[in-house]
Every structure is written in structure tokens, then in C-alpha cells.
């Protein structure tokens, strides 16, 4: 129960935050929220299902382009655009996932990446529809959230809602079935579960939330580019999750805070961002293999908390 108290405090802090920080950092905070949602959706596949999706940007990008195209070419209201982003990403995940869940381990990672790159090249080349490598410009949010502070609260509201839904799923029988498949897929078959079908459902749900995160990005940046779908972008939630910790539900959000904040801070005075994040990853992998959350939990446990990593996850 103490845990919920902490979450309440954090939520109140996020409500007050824009009142005490400057506009630049509000921009950073919006990005933390969007990327945090993207990373948590990635972790539904990585942490809970035990497979590394290295093409998760495909669903993020599909969501971004769905909302972006609708806002540039039609006058559909933003909330509906976001819903369509989720559906588009979900359908894409259903098609790609159908093939990917036949594989596990490195083959799963490679195939998800290959499909992701395929989507990237389609968007990159299809000038007449997607704008090709010029991307899409002029994705202007509606008046009521045109100020960055308002957009921050809008994003906070949607991301919090999405996180709650994903958390409920992770604690449901379906969520535990994912852990079971991660721990021992064969055993799970022998208790009567169609492992591939469940993996596919999870892949689609994760893709939908990635699509929602992508949808939020366009109106925030006022533009999108095909880079959103490529494999560099797929690496971002991987880094965030490794930094934050894959075994706790909020690990990827912590990772997003650290990664995005560091990016905003470091690129302010040096162009050696890849070197910086590389060093951070090396440090985390070598000295805190459970990520920040793993470290906090081990420290916490020595004081006497008895909950298991997974019971808390």
C-alpha cells in the first residue's frame, strides 16, 4: 500500500511540475511521457513475454503517421486521430506479429527488425502519400492544447490512463500467462495454452500502445519524419528499458526519464551523445543488471521488504 502512496505523490509532482520549470524543460517532460509510454509498451514484449522486439518503432511510426496524415489532410479531431493511430498500429502488429511469434530469441529480434525496416523504406519512398524523407509538416494541435503546458497536461492525462490500463493487464490472468510463457513456454503448452496465439495477442496490444505514443508525438513536434520508424528509433525503448529495469512495470518510465533528460542536458554542450549513452549503457549492464529499479529493489529488500520482484512487477 505504501507503494500506491508513492505513486500518488509522484502523480501530484507531475501535476505541479510545469509551474516550477521553464518552457524548455516542459518540452523535455512531454517527450519523457511519450517515450515512457513507448518504452512500457515495448516492455510488454520484452519484460513480460521474454522476447526482444527490435522493430517496435514500426508501430510507433505507424501511429505517428496515422495521426499526422489525418491532421494534415483532414479535420478529424485529435482524440479520434489517436484512437485511429492505435487501431492502425494494432493491425500492423497483427500482420507482422503473425510471422514473428513463430520464432523466439535472436530470430524473433531479427524478424521484427526486418519488418520494421521494411515499413521504414515504404514510408521513406512513398512521396505522394507520406511525404517521403521530407516527412510531414504542419501538424498543428487544436487550439485548446496549442500551448506547451496544455499539451503537457493532455499528454500526462493520456499516458497515465494508458499506463493504468497496461498495469491492470500485467496483473491479470493474461499478464501472468505472459510471465508463464517467458519463464517456460513448453510448460505453458502442457497446461493447455496456445502459446503462439497468446504471444500474438500480446504483440498486438503492445503495438497499439506504441501507436498511441507515436500519435502523441506529431502534434507535439508539429512535424514527423520517417526516421521515427527506423531501427535507431527501435533501439531507444531497448536502452530505456535496460537502464530503468525490465522486471518492474515502471522501469521503462524511469529509463525514459534518465535517457530523455540526459539527452536534453548533454546535447546542450556536446555533440558526443552516442558516446555518452554508450558509457551509461555499459555501466548499467556491468554494474546494475536489473537497471535502476532492480537496484532500488535489492536495496529495499535488505531493509526487509519481502515482496518478490515479480509479485511487484
Amino acid at each position: 500500500m505504501i507503494r500506491y502512496g508513492w505513486l500518488g505523490l509522484i502523480f501530484i509532482a507531475t501535476l505541479i511540475l510545469p509551474l516550477v520549470i521553464g518552457e524548455y524543460w516542459i518540452h523535455v517532460a512531454v517527450e519523457i511521457l511519450i517515450m515512457g509510454l513507448f518504452a512500457v509498451s515495448f516492455n510488454m514484449i520484452f519484460g513480460y513475454m521474454g522476447q526482444l522486439s527490435f522493430g517496435h518503432a514500426a508501430y510507433f511510426g505507424a501511429g505517428a503517421y496515422a495521426t499526422g496524415l489525418l491532421m494534415v489532410k483532414t479535420s478529424v479531431p485529435l482524440p479520434i486521430c489517436l484512437a485511429i493511430s492505435m487501431i492502425t498500429a494494432g493491425v500492423l502488429a497483427l500482420v507482422i506479429g503473425y510471422f514473428c511469434v513463430r520464432l523466439t530469441g535472436i530470430y524473433f529480434a531479427i524478424l521484427t527488425m526486418a519488418f520494421g525496416q521494411m515499413l521504414y523504406y515504404i514510408i521513406f519512398q512513398w512521396y505522394s502519400f507520406t511525404g517521403g524523407d521530407d516527412g510531414l509538416q504542419g501538424i498543428v494541435p487544436p487550439d485548446w492544447i496549442i500551448q506547451v503546458t496544455a499539451y503537457y497536461y493532455f499528454t500526462l492525462f493520456i499516458v497515465t490512463g494508458a499506463l493504468i490500463v497496461m498495469w491492470v493487464i500485467s496483473e491479470s490472468p493474461f499478464g501472468y500467462t505472459m510471465r508463464a510463457i517467458r519463464d517456460n513456454a513448453d510448460r505453458t503448452r502442457f497446461i493447455g495454452i496456445n502459446v503462439r496465439k497468446y504471444m500474438l495477442i500480446n504483440f498486438v496490444v503492445a503495438g497499439m500502445f506504441a501507436g498511441l505514443a507515436g500519435g502523441l508525438l506529431g502534434p507535439f513536434n508539429r512535424s514527423i519524419a520517417p526516421d521515427l520508424c527506423n531501427w535507431h528509433q527501435s533501439g531507444v525503448p531497448v536502452f530505456m528499458t535496460v537502464i530503468g529495469g525490465p522486471l518492474g512495470f515502471l522501469g521503462p518510465v524511469i529509463g525514459s526519464v534518465i535517457y530523455t533528460f540526459l539527452f536534453a542536458f548533454v546535447t546542450g554542450f556536446t555533440e558526443y551523445w552516442p558516446l555518452t549513452i554508450g558509457l551509461v549503457i555499459i555501466f548499467v549492464v556491468l554494474y546494475m543488471p536489473g537497471g535502476v529499479l532492480g537496484l532500488v529493489k535489492t536495496k529495499f529488500k535488505t531493509i526487509g521488504a519481502e515482496e518478490s520482484m515479480d509479485a511487484e512487477a
Binding site: V168, E171, P173, F174, A180, T188, R189, D310
Partner: protein, 247 residues
């Protein structure tokens, strides 16, 4: 009525005939054993019966229904469960969560996205923890349990599927003498009190006597003797290939 019928079952791996023209039948309510030295083909036989391997030829039927080459999850849903020789559990989940998972699957609740899992199947999970003597380990991470307790958990997961037919692959492997006895008594109780048809394998002959009503001796993939434990003990072929080694 025959609950399980196996006709002329064959399975080869490369040049090795792991299952050789096996005919086998079980009646509802039976408690029977398959014995044979390591490598006799016991585990392969179970893997064929539960759909883990595809058969080369032959038929398997359960309660009159042909289940040859069905996938494991479909066979499991019909009411056939198995426990593995090397304990095959969910190491990162607690013992309680391990058992609950099997029960939730049996109750067809695994597509429920919105009810917290900890509110479901409480009574059933507690019952199975008690039956298998794991109550005091309920909240321990399964991977940290002792070998003997892992085997009990393995059995509990199999029971969570509420099977009518249960395959136990060397249920006492790695257990101490006392644990072996407790486990075999539990198997006997499950058979008598819960009306469960059980087939188990064992490589240690002494464990089998007193429990199985019928024994089948497997050697190099073939059945070489069958009968009551007494008959098998007296059988010359069985003595030669198997019992002789033990004495």
C-alpha cells in the same frame, strides 16, 4: 472402458528406434507403471502421447477420440496432464503463482485482461498447495525451492489442469528415500481418492512394487514384458535385460 489406446506406435530419431511398434492400453481408474533402464524410450513414449513429438506411424486415442499428432495444448485441454522428469516449472514466479497459472488455464480464464489474478482461483490453489505439502512454501520463488519441492510443485501444476489421465515421468527422480515414499503414497491416494488414472515411469524397480497394479517393461523402444509386478519379476526376458542389472 479403455481411457487410452495406443496402436503400433513408432518413432525414430535418425537411426535410433526410440519407440518400436508399441501397443498399449489403459483402463479408467488404473495406476500403472512403465519401467526400463535409462534410454529405454520411456520419456519418448510420454512425449508422443502428449503431442510434444509427432509420431512416425501408429494411432493414439483417448476416451475413444483419435488424438494422434494433436498439439500439446489441445491434448491438455481434453484432460491429459503430465509432470516432467526434470522439474519443469516457472522459476521466476512463486510456488503459489505456478499452481494458480495451471488452474487459471484449466478454468479458461487466461484471456481475462482486467481482473487482478490474485483475486482468482484462491481456494483451488490453496487446496493443491495442501495436497502436495507445499503450503509453507507458497510465497517462495519457485526457482529457489529444493529439488524435492520442485518435483512436488511439478506434480501440483499437472494436477491444476484437473486431468482425468495423468502421466508422471519419474515422479521420484532426485528424491531422498523418505521423500520417494511420501510422493508414491500421494500418487496412490490421487488414484484412489480422486479417481485419477495414472501412468508413471520409473527406473528404480524397488519403488514400483506396492504401488502399480500393472507393470510394463520397455527396452530399446519395445515392450518386452507386461503383467502384475510379481509376474514381471518372474519374467525371464525382463530379468535378463533389466532386473539382472539391478541385482
Amino acid at each position: 472402458m479403455a481411457i487410452l489406446k495406443v496402436k503400433r506406435l513408432n518413432k525414430a530419431f535418425g537411426g535410433l528406434q526410440a519407440t518400436n511398434d508399441v501397443n498399449y492400453e489403459m483402463q479408467t481408474g488404473e495406476l500403472s507403471g512403465i519401467i526400463g533402464p535409462n534410454g529405454a524410450g520411456k520419456s519418448t513414449f510420454f512425449n508422443l502421447l502428449t503431442g510434444y513429438y509427432k509420431v512416425d506411424s501408429g494411432r493414439i486415442s483417448f476416451q475413444g477420440k483419435d488424438i494422434t499428432n494433436w498439439s500439446p495444448h489441445r491434448i491438455s485441454r481434453l484432460g491429459i496432464a503430465r509432470a516432467f522428469q526434470v522439474s519443469n516449472i516457472y522459476p521466476a514466479l512463486t510456488a503459489y503463482e505456478n499452481i494458480r497459472q495451471a488452474i487459471l488455464a484449466q478454468q479458461k480464464r487466461t484471456l481475462n485482461f482486467f481482473t487482478p489474478a490474485h483475486r482468482l482461483a484462491k481456494k483451488e490453489t490453496q487446496e493443491l498447495l495442501e495436497v502436495t505439502g507445499l503450503s509453507q512454501h507458497a510465497d517462495k520463488i519457485a526457482g529457489t525451492l529444493s529439488q524435492g519441492d520442485k518435483k512436488c510443485l511439478e506434480l501440483a501444476i499437472a494436477l491444476g489442469s484437473k486431468p482425468e489421465l495423468l502421466f508422471l515421468d519419474e515422479p521420484t527422480a532426485g528424491m531422498s528415500g523418505e521423500e520417494t515414499h511420501e510422493t508414491m503414497n500421494l500418487v496412490k491416494r490421487l488414484n484412489q481418492e480422486m479417481d485419477l488414472t495414472i501412468l508413471f515411469t520409473e527406473h528404480d524397480m524397488s519403488v514400483v512394487f506396492g504401488y502399480a497394479k500393472r507393470l510394463t517393461v520397455l527396452h530399446q523402444g519395445s515392450i518386452i514384458a507386461e503383467g502384475t509386478p510379481e509376474e514381471v519379476r518372474k519374467n525371464e526376458t525382463a530379468q535378463k535385460v533389466y532386473l539382472g542389472e539391478e541385482a
